[in-house]
C-alpha cells in the first residue's frame, strides 16, 4: 500500500525568502510523485510531477521539487516566496501500475510580507 507523509501542518516564511514543504512517501515499485496546491474555496491545481529522469523537477509559478530515491522524499521548493503562494499544498504518490493517487494530509503555507 502507498502512503505519503507531510510532517509539517504549517510552514511560515517571510516574503522573498526560500521555502521548502516536505514530503516523504512509501510505495512498491517506481513512484509517480505529484504536488498540488489548493487555494481557499477552489479545487486542486497541479503544480508539478516526477516520473523518471532528472531528480529536479520544475513546475508552475516558479516551484520545483527534488526527488530523492534513497530518502524516499519529494520536497517542494521555491527560491523566493510570494504572499500569493499562501495556500494548502498536497503531495501525492501513485504506484507505477496502480489506480490510486494517495495524498498526504496537506501543509498550509503562510507567506508574510
Amino acid at each position: 500500500a502507498q502512503s505519503v507523509a507531510q510532517p509539517e501542518d504549517q510552514v511560515n516564511v517571510a516574503e522573498g525568502n526560500p521555502l521548502t514543504v516536505k514530503c516523504t512517501y512509501s510505495v512498491s515499485g517506481n513512484p509517480y510523485l505529484f504536488w498540488y496546491v489548493q487555494y481557499p474555496n477552489r479545487g486542486l491545481q497541479f503544480l508539478l510531477k516526477y516520473i523518471t529522469g532528472d531528480n529536479l523537477v520544475k513546475g508552475s509559478y516558479g516551484f520545483e521539487a527534488e526527488f530523492n530515491k534513497s530518502q524516499t522524499s519529494f520536497h517542494l521548493k521555491k527560491p523566493s516566496a510570494l504572499v500569493s503562494d499562501s495556500a494548502l499544498y498536497f503531495c501525492a504518490v501513485r504506484a507505477e501500475y496502480g489506480n490510486k493517487l494517495v495524498f498526504g494530509a496537506g501543509t498550509i503555507l503562510r507567506v508574510k510580507s
Binding site: Y32, F34, G43, L44, Q45, Y97, G98, N99, K100, L101
Partner: protein, 117 residues
C-alpha cells in the same frame, strides 16, 4: 478550454435522503476519479473509471455509495441513505488515459460541498 465541472456546488440534505453528485470531465479525458475531502480524513480516493474497463471501486466507504459513468463522459456519484459522516467536499478529477494514465496529471473540479443535517 473548459475544465472539470461539478454540480451542484453545494448540497444540503437531511439524514436518510439520497443525493446525486455530477461530474463533467474535460473533453477527451478517458480517466475519471472521485475523491472525498474532509477535515478528519484528508483527501480519500473513492473510485476510478478508465475507458471501458471495469471501475476500481476499492475506495468506496460503504455499499451506500455508488458511481456510474455514462457514455465514457459524465459521471454521477450517488449516496443513498445519507449519514452525517458523509458530510464532506466531493471532488472529481479527470486525466488523459492510455498507457500513461498512471503518470498523467489529474485536473480537478471545484467540488461539491455536501452537508448532511
Amino acid at each position: 478550454g473548459a475544465g472539470v465541472s461539478q454540480s451542484p456546488s453545494n448540497k444540503v440534505t437531511e439524514k436518510g435522503k439520497d443525493v446525486e453528485l455530477r461530474c463533467d470531465p474535460i473533453s477527451g479525458h478517458t480517466a475519471l476519479y472521485w475523491y472525498r475531502q474532509s477535515l478528519g480524513q484528508g483527501l480519500e480516493f473513492l473510485i476510478y473509471f478508465q475507458g471501458n474497463s471495469a471501475p476500481d471501486k476499492s475506495g468506496l466507504p460503504s455499499d451506500r455509495f455508488s458511481a456510474e459513468r455514462t457514455g465514457g463522459s459524465v459521471s454521477t456519484l450517488t449516496i443513498q441513505r445519507t449519514q452525517q459522516e458523509d458530510s464532506a467536499v466531493y471532488l472529481c478529477a479527470s486525466s488523459l488515459g492510455g498507457r500513461g494514465v498512471s503518470y498523467n496529471e489529474q485536473f480537478f473540479g471545484p467540488g461539491t460541498r455536501l452537508t448532511v443535517l
